[in-house]
């Protein structure tokens, strides 16, 4: 089937062009504040893809995703400052910590399903959050500072995180198209049917947690360079909440979901910039309101809107239309 230029002139292409333009121009005219917002937005897109893979695609609701993100941050900072590892070593340390955590969470999630998976995650998150603020190894509540020589310019950080966000999107798309993704969606949609068709759902569940945790870990390693320090606040629930919001508002199980939902981060950062610091924590109220409104109006997120749905490619209906056109002649 040959496509005309007309077929490309739709709202999707327009949005994509706008997006690319925005991505290119931000570092040109953006001041430090806008650059910071842009970096955070891209980071949440990357984290959103990670969450979307676990919760949107595989149906395991991760309520404390900051756990995986935070372990990535701590892996990098501890590796660099305490163990004197190179950058790659820091990334690998974060990944290793996350794989161990993912195996624990995944094992629980595969034995017990649904609510218990969420509860296990909350419990583990609480343990790690507390430990991070209590041990000298992790720098207590103040955290550890990264060596000064690794300080990067905002522009370098921007392009780094842009590359990572795109990488996460590519990973998401690749997983969804492969055998792994088909099994992930199958176990979300109907675990009983999936297992009767020979899909090892226990194994796939664990793999889903591992892949997602590793994605979040890499975004965490980036965050260590962005903040040049760690604090236990990287495990904070507001981070988990933001990740969930970005995906829920944008669209569950869709690669463009986090991109469509990231305006929320922009909005949040701007609001917090304007409001007196006393009220800054009230941003959570805004999240809650947005979530309620979205749940009522668009339960499938922005990507669930009609304009983003793939066209019906039902061969029969196409043939019927052709037949009707012939008959008219």
């Amino acid at each position: 089937m040959k496509k005309d230029l007309k077929d490309y002139l739709n709202i999707k292409t327009l949005l994509l062009v706008l997006l690319v333009a925005l991505v290119i121009f931000i570092p040109v005219w953006g001041n430090r504040r806008y650059m910071n917002i842009a970096i955070l937005v891209l980071m949440y897109i990357g984290l959103g893809e990670s969450w979307n893979l676990l919760s949107g695609m595989s149906g395991l609701f991760s309520i404390a995703h900051a756990l995986f993100f935070g372990l990535g941050v701590y892996g990098m900072t501890i590796g660099m400052t305490k163990l004197g590892l190179p950058v790659v070593g820091g990334i690998l340390l974060g990944l290793a910590a996350n794989v161990v955590m993912a195996l624990i969470v995944g094992f629980v999630g595969s034995k017990l399903s649904g609510l218990y998976f969420t509860m296990a995650l909350i419990a583990l998150h609480a343990i790690i959050y507390t430990l991070a603020g209590q041990m000298s190894f992790t720098g207590y509540a103040l955290g550890l500072s990264m060596p000064r020589e690794y300080l990067m310019s905002r522009r370098a950080l921007y392009f780094l995180v842009l590359g990572l966000a795109i990488l996460m999107m590519l990973i998401f798309v690749w997983v969804r198209k492969s055998r792994i993704g088909t099994n992930f969606v199958a176990l979300k949609e109907n675990p009983d049917l999936a297992v009767s068709l020979g899909s090892n759902i226990r194994g796939w569940r664990i793999l889903a947690v591992i892949i997602s945790a590793m994605m979040a870990s890499i975004m965490g390693a980036f965050y260590a360079f962005y903040m040049m320090a760690n604090t236990p606040e990287v495990f904070a629930s507001t981070i988990s909440l933001r990740i969930i919001m970005v995906c829920m508002v944008g669209g569950l199980g869709n690669v463009w979901g986090p991109v469509m939902g990231c305006w929320l981060i922009v909005f949040d950062e701007l609001v917090r910039g304007v409001m007196p610091s006393k009220f800054a924590s009230f941003a959570v109220v805004v999240y809650a309101l947005v979530l309620i409104v979205m749940a009522l109006l668009k339960p499938k997120g922005i990507m669930g809107s009609k304009i983003f749905q793939p066209k019906e490619t039902d061969a029969r209906s196409v043939e019927n239309k052709k037949a009707a056109a012939k008959a008219q002649k």
């Binding site: 009983d192 049917l193 068709l197 020979g198 899909s199 061969a315």
Partner: protein, 246 residues
């Protein structure tokens, strides 16, 4: 023996759902399982496919024991099943949902996709390949479920009331597909069914279950003339011999 259930017993709390059930199936046969509601037919099916863990007894298939294996291992061993209530991956396209089954024995996407398409063609849904399952009607969903089960390349297929909820003409069509599965793909079939017309015209051998026990077995003609079977279906008061008196 190709497939054999030996003294399978399972109880849920105080209720004994299957008691010392013995079933034997030869390769290539179509075997039916009938019985009144609550007789334990679906329980037996779930024990075979691995969703129930039996309390005692053995299940043998193709020379190995498959007792109490996980459902995915039973599927790998070569037994696929369809469910009493039509199950589907509502949000997937037809092609992808059959692909899940095809991945059971094929690791590369290219091979699996080719086989999935072949099976979709086999059940006559080729033109619906890219349609979401949630947009198919009941008849098409039954066929989609059959295609997914076939895509796992089973040696034996368990059909749990495949014909339930269909209008008579559709029953006729599906019947043809089921015969084709047995004849052309050489798959052994074990069928639970309430539509007796289907069972009688299809099966080589029939087992009758009542209160969790096998009360009769044999060819369709033998089973239907067995007084125990008639009693089970029509009640104790019905006297078979009375009809035959002049």
């Amino acid at each position: 023996m190709f497939f054999k259930v030996e003294n399978s017993t399972i109880a849920f709390g105080g209720l004994v759902a299957n008691k010392d059930v013995n079933v034997e199936v030869e390769k290539g046969q179509i075997v039916g399982l009938i019985g009144p509601n609550g007789a334990g037919k679906s329980t037996l099916f779930k024990s075979i496919s691995g969703f129930n863990k039996i309390d005692s007894g053995h299940i043998w298939f193709d020379g190995r024991e498959i007792t109490n294996l996980e459902p995915n291992h039973v599927c790998k061993a070569g037994i696929a099943c369809t469910f009493q209530k039509a199950q589907s991956f509502a949000d997937m396209t037809l092609e992808e949902s059959v692909l899940v089954g095809a991945y059971c024995r094929r690791k590369s996407k290219k091979e699996a996709l080719a086989y999935a398409r072949e099976m979709i063609g086999f059940v006559g849904l080729a033109e619906k390949q890219t349609v979401k399952i949630s947009k198919l009607n009941m008849y098409e969903r039954k066929k989609a479920e059959l295609a997914a089960a076939l895509a796992t390349q089973p040696q034996m297929l368990l059909l749990d009331e495949l014909f339930a909820g269909l209008v008579p003409t559709e029953v006729g069509y599906i019947l043809e597909y089921v015969k084709k599965v047995n004849r052309e793909l050489g798959i052994t079939l074990l069928i639970v069914e309430h539509v007796l017309k289907v069972i009688m015209s299809l099966c080589d051998k029939i087992y009758v279950l009542e209160y969790g026990q096998i009360i009769a077995s044999g060819s369709p003609a033998e089973v239907t003339s067995d007084p125990k079977v008639i009693k089970a279906y029509l009640g104790d008061d019905y006297d078979v011999t009375a009809d035959q008196q002049p």
